[in-house]
């Protein structure tokens, strides 16, 4: 029996269980109600239906999930026990190659065998897969019936089906949220592990404080010394994401937030705010080619015109400017929220003193909203330094340690992309360096986020 058919069958059984349990509960409750006692009936019939349906489906599905994981081992054992397997070579490598080939043919993923030995194992494979497939299906259906029958006998007017179903709903939701957490923990663990392997090849101090980055030379056998100094990358990241981008985003974001909250007529605000926030919805790859194809050449021409040497067609400035534009909505919506959270009475108090609107903004609103604004800026920085697409397309690959915004610099994210594109071997320092870079980026963004959220939260409490 094939997988989809089995699942359809189980779903059908579940539906039957639902209908029949509900009908039974309805009948029993009609009788129970006739006794006139209010507490004679606990749950609505629908809950009994769900209770029995879940007992029918859930154990069978759980069993199939476990079964699917142990069947390959059982199948291989069965095949190895077959007389045809006696002639297999003894070394593990060629043996598993032949077994794999035979399995591919048996399941139809491959048409013919290269190795005659594999051809001989196809039949035993087919037989074993079939056998265990049927066994699994039968067991699942038996479980479905057993579970359903057990639950069905518990359908009584006073049975607390609702409580059970609610509990199961809660458990499902809990598992869903735990999955996200488990994934995060897994990612962090893999980052830590691979970074640890990297740092066993390269001294962490050389990595964090070295100023020469040339992973290619390490890959070509010149040794790991002096090849993984990540300072130029950190500098490039900060130069683009935390300096140039913020020089664009902070003033523009803040000023648009002030305009939108303090000056704009409601009609203007109504269309202007969503339009501004649309910037955040533009795919970063679009910003990327805008930066690479429009801004960068224009900046280079401009730099050449005013006589700056070393102007590159992939410049820190191009990437930073475009990233700054991308970040504007983050800054402006955080600033907007914090300015709007300053009580109106504060503003009235200042205006009633004879302060102008701009004096009120500068001397009362901004200072009061500052923690929120700072939090927003920190979040924007953490977003900017983790941004990849724009810098990959517009910032370049040369690991320069330079203050010249027209020169090409590279960033942590760009280098991660470079290190992991193409064929990789997972035991070289060059590949593992990507994980170390990722770890640094993760730690920095995490810290920025924690600090930002703290600042914002502390400030929120001040006015409640």
């Amino acid at each position: 029996m094939t997988g989809p058919a089995l699942f359809l069958l189980l779903a059908g059984l579940g539906a039957i269980a639902w209908v029949s349990a509900r009908a039974r509960a309805l009948r029993l409750q009609t009788v129970a109600r006739a006794t006139g006692r209010r507490d004679a009936v606990h749950s609505l019939p629908g809950y009994h239906g769900w209770y029995v349906a879940l007992w029918t489906i859930a154990p069978a599905v759980l069993f199939l999930a476990v079964w699917a994981n142990i069947v390959p081992g059982l199948v291989t054992q069965a095949v190895l026990a077959d007389p045809a397997a006696q002639s297999l070579p003894m070394d593990d490598f060629s043996r598993s190659a032949i077994l794999g080939e035979a399995r591919s043919i048996a399941t139809g993923a491959q048409a013919g065998a290269f190795n005659p030995l594999a051809q001989g194992l196809v039949e035993p494979y087919r037989a074993a897969i079939n056998k265990y497939g049927v066994a699994g299906a039968v067991l699942a259906i038996v479980l479905a019936f057993a579970g359903g029958a057990y639950a069905f006998t518990r359908v009584r007017p006073d049975f607390r089906a609702r409580t059970r179903v609610e509990r199961l709903v809660m458990a499902t939701l809990l598992i869903a949220s735990l999955l996200a957490i488990v994934t995060t923990v897994g990612i962090v663990a893999s980052l830590l592990w691979e970074s640890f392997r990297f740092f066993s090849m390269v001294n962490p101090l050389d990595f964090l404080f070295g100023t020469k980055w040339s992973p290619q030379s390490a890959a070509m056998g010149y040794g790991n010394q002096d090849a993984f100094g990540a300072v130029p990358l950190f500098w490039g990241t900060i130069f683009i994401g935390a300096i140039i981008a913020m020089v664009v985003a902070i003033p523009l974001g803040l000023m648009s937030a002030i305009y939108l909250t303090q000056y704009a007529q409601p009609v203007v605000r109504k269309w202007m705010k969503p339009t501004l926030e649309m910037l955040a919805g533009v795919p970063t790859v679009v910003y990327g080619y805008f930066a690479a194809l429009t801004i960068a050449p224009a900046l280079r021409d401009f730099a050449v015109m005013i006589g700056i040497h070393g102007a590159s067609s992939e410049s820190a400035l191009a990437a930073g400017l475009v990233m700054g534009v991308m970040i504007i909505p983050f800054v402006s919506s955080m600033a907007d929220d914090s300015i709007a959270a300053v009580p109106q009475s504060m503003r009235d108090g200042s205006l009633a003193m004879g302060a102008t609107t701009s004096e009120t903004i500068r001397k009362v609103l901004i200072p009061a909203a500052l923690p929120g604004v700072v939090g927003g800026v920190l979040l924007a920085v953490s977003r900017a330094i983790g941004e990849t697409m724009i810098v990959v397309m517009a910032a370049g690959l040369a690991a320069n340690l330079t203050l010249n915004p027209f020169a090409s610099v590279t960033t942590v994210t760009t280098q991660i992309v470079q290190l992991l594109t193409g064929d990789q071997e997972f035991d070289s320092a060059k590949t593992l360096a990507a994980f170390a870079l990722g770890l640094v980026l993760f730690v920095v963004t995490l810290l920025l986020n924690i600090v930002a959220l703290r600042v914002v939260k502390k400030y929120r409490e001040a006015y409640e």
């Binding site: 007529q265 409601p266 009580p343 009475s345 504060m346 503003r347 009235d348 108090g349 200042s350 205006l351 009633a352 003193m353 004879g354 302060a355 102008t356 004096e359 001397k363 009362v364 200072p367 009061a368 001040a462």
Partner: protein
């Protein structure tokens, strides 16, 4: 309003309103109020909630300008000058007509900076020494100096509610206004803090024209010499406080002060 309900003929009013109407969108909140406020007396506006007394108070320093839907008709004069005329600078007006709000609203700055805020924006004091003088004088007048002189650089928001409200009064005084408008200044305070504010109003009387909106009729009787009773956007009766409370001429006034409604 008819002349009969306004027995006060004030020769030289500080502020006077003539047939003032205020609209919020299509809704009319004030229906033609004429009133004179003079320098030597504290004037109280009383009336039930929603009668328009606060709205009217806010027209006196054009705080209603900040409400987008509000529209004011009629004429309001400060020393004979129309405050709604295009030549009137709102910033100047509000420096001359200060305001204290219902809820204490000190800025989230130090006590010193709260007081220095107004003098700074109006350029009344530049040198640190001048500012120190203004701050001390204002805090003394607001009756707060003795309590805060050792912690001028603590946050104004850390003071108690009553102290915060006196800080706000001091802040208003610091710009040397001619009129001080108080919008239910004690409604968020306990009785002791309220008594202190009332005492302060007595001390400030004569130096500034004071207009106070209050819900509390005992308070109006205690602090004011002139009382105006508002009801449903009308100025029903305006007169000497003792007359209003002992011998009102209008039926609606009598009903209100005897507690029939409100």
């Amino acid at each position: 309003m008819t002349e009969a309900t306004n027995p006060l003929a004030i020769a030289n009013p500080k502020m006077s309103a003539r047939d003032v109407k205020v609209f919020y969108g299509a809704k009319q909140a004030i229906k033609g109020v004429s009133i004179d406020v003079d320098m030597d007396h504290v004037t109280a506006f009383i009336g039930p909630s929603g009668c328009g007394k606060s709205t009217f108070l806010r027209t006196l320093n054009r705080m209603n300008d900040t409400v987008a839907s509000a529209r004011v008709e009629g004429m309001i004069m400060l020393d004979g000058e129309d405050i709604y005329s295009p030549s009137m600078d709102v910033v100047q007006l509000r420096a001359r007509v200060g305001m204290v709000f219902q809820k204490p609203n000190p800025f989230p700055k130090s006590i010193y900076e709260n007081i220095a805020y107004g003098p700074r924006i109006h350029g009344l004091a530049h040198a640190k020494a001048d500012l120190d003088v203004v701050v001390e004088k204002s805090l003394r007048r607001a009756g707060l100096w003795e309590e805060v002189k050792d912690r001028l650089h603590d946050s104004g928001t850390a003071l108690s509610g009553g102290q915060q409200q006196r800080l706000c009064i001091g802040r208003a005084i610091a710009v040397e206004p001619e009129v001080i408008l108080m919008d239910e200044p004690c409604s968020a305070l306990d009785p002791i803090a309220t008594a202190k504010i009332e005492e302060l109003i007595h001390e400030l009387r004569g130096r500034y024209a004071i207009v106070i909106v209050t819900h509390n009729m005992q308070q109006a009787a205690r602090v004011s010499q002139r009382t105006a009773f508002f009801h449903l956007g009308d100025l029903v009766e305006y007169g000497v406080t003792s007359d209003i409370f002992t011998n009102p001429t209008q039926e609606r006034t009598k009903d209100y002060i005897t507690g029939r409604y409100g």
